[in-house]
Symmetry: C2
Subunit: 337 residues, 2 copies
Amino acid sequence: MGITIRDVAAAAGVSTATVSRALRGLPNVDQVTRERVKDVAAALDYVISPSASRLASGRTGSIAVITPYISRWFFSEIIARVESVMQQSGMDLLLMNVGDYQNGHARIPPTPRLRRRVDGILIVSLPPQDPDLEAILSLGMPTAMIGGIAPNVECVVIDDVSAAKRATEHLVALGHTRIALMAGGPATARFTAESQRERGFHLVMKQNSLVEDPMLEVFGHFTIEGGESAMDALLNQPNPPTAVFAMSDEMAFGAIRSIRKHGLEPGCDVSIVGVDNHPMSSYLGLTTVSQPVSELGVTAGERLMGQILGIDPLGENGRVTELPTELMVRESTGTKS
Amino acid sequence: MGITIRDVAAAAGVSTATVSRALRGLPNVDQVTRERVKDVAAALDYVISPSASRLASGRTGSIAVITPYISRWFFSEIIARVESVMQQSGMDLLLMNVGDYQNGHARIPPTPRLRRRVDGILIVSLPPQDPDLEAILSLGMPTAMIGGIAPNVECVVIDDVSAAKRATEHLVALGHTRIALMAGGPATARFTAESQRERGFHLVMKQNSLVEDPMLEVFGHFTIEGGESAMDALLNQPNPPTAVFAMSDEMAFGAIRSIRKHGLEPGCDVSIVGVDNHPMSSYLGLTTVSQPVSELGVTAGERLMGQILGIDPLGENGRVTELPTELMVRESTGTKS
DNA sequence: TTGTAAGCGTTATCAG
DNA sequence: CTGATAACGCTTACAA
């Protein structure tokens, strides 16, 4: 069961070597021969055996995308773009969720599954201190990273510090002085984006000599519900903030709901700005700092392919590509009343 | 570069055959031998070569998930669950978007890429008349399908007809008689869910002797923007509907926005019900018919694995598993004013 | 330009 | 229970 290269060779009256060369477009094949082989292969409905090809050549023709989440907007959007790039490059895309964050089930370390299985790895937003990260990087294969920076690796990022600065400055410019920070979680096990955005926030607060009340730092776990509870907590304080910088739009959504629930109006009584430019943000009138999610995925995918193909090789110390962000002012922010 | 089974065999003082058996947990291996082999393999940091294993065994250890979209909520949620099932089964998950719907780039037919490459295929919501669908099914490999029914295939679905009936009946029970239908697009190239939901809608309308004004059938393309424009068109008519059944929550979101834009209040001036129970639905107070997306993914994944492993084989005519839906009444629907 | 043949690293079939 | 050894289907020097 299954036409092999030998069948094609026999039918075309050439050797298997020639078939292999002809079909892969290698040079040094007579044009006539090549056409004949191609025709015969098509007629026989020949499909190459990837396993055999891989075993013989050492190339797997696939890459792995490793992410802590699959269905969250940011991640699924990136996966979609990378898939698109890989499809055009004729590469298979293996999807690997590094559990724990998402599912209840035990986390299966991805490293062993990666060895000998893929030609390259694309890592999306693993926290720098993630135990698997180092293991993956030390595999020493072509690797690209989105949303994080590591030495000797192709990194595609946004400037999270400046994104946060932009958001916070916007709030300050509107006259707010009592500004809350809605982070994902406590400082341990943070994503790169979290610590950077926190830095940006602190910087601007300091620059403007604004006090940072520790009571005004809350955790929304990057979810709508989390953002809502966090905002609840903020508003139930004796001296609530007049503005909030949320590290993600989804948390901001929850916060908006909480604000309304308390009989207040976002952008009027309380200003809120997020990060992402999630598709629902314009819908909800959320002021946010947009990040170019699609470009992040496409760029990282293409760079990874460049490494794998040997064109566009990586320098000694890796490379960091920074993509631009933009403040989108909408209704959720306004001058301090 | 790379420890092979021979290195392990030599180090353990056994044959490669024994190593293979011991490591895979096959019977007929002395317990002591097995342990020794395992220890040696671990010490040597041996990792099996998937390509070699695949070539020799004929099993690829991977499945393909084929979807028309990756980043839309329904799809990414399903992908996430399937990934989880596959990870636990030790299978690789190849992600394949059957372009065209999503990207601008030329659609690459998935069939050749599937042959000899995977042990099973999980198809998510391909329209029944999709040219690739038949080709994929005729590959004759273990296949499972979500959101569609085909002969001789493992199908996991919801009852879209009754989902639509439930939604429409809810509207009728509230006293609405002039009810609009917001579909994805025109009848050609429809997803299974679309035609089924349309049927359910028509059934209830007929049962209640309600006239179906052709002006009240609009297309929202399953997007927020599409839903908004479609609702705009509806409200700009001389005799607008008092209620709308939208085939998806995302379209309903857009519709809600349009309603508000027209100075009307959802659930009060115009009622609207969707399908999905998207995470944002409860947030926006959208009445909807929920579908068990996670279960859809898990069930299909497990069934597919059952087929691949030979347990839980498929009967002659395939099998259809129907998962339950539920009407979630929220603020976007109310009695006819 | 084309053919020959030696791998690639496992698995699986037989013997033993 | 264990060991030889022939596949598995392709790639790739090396020859011709």
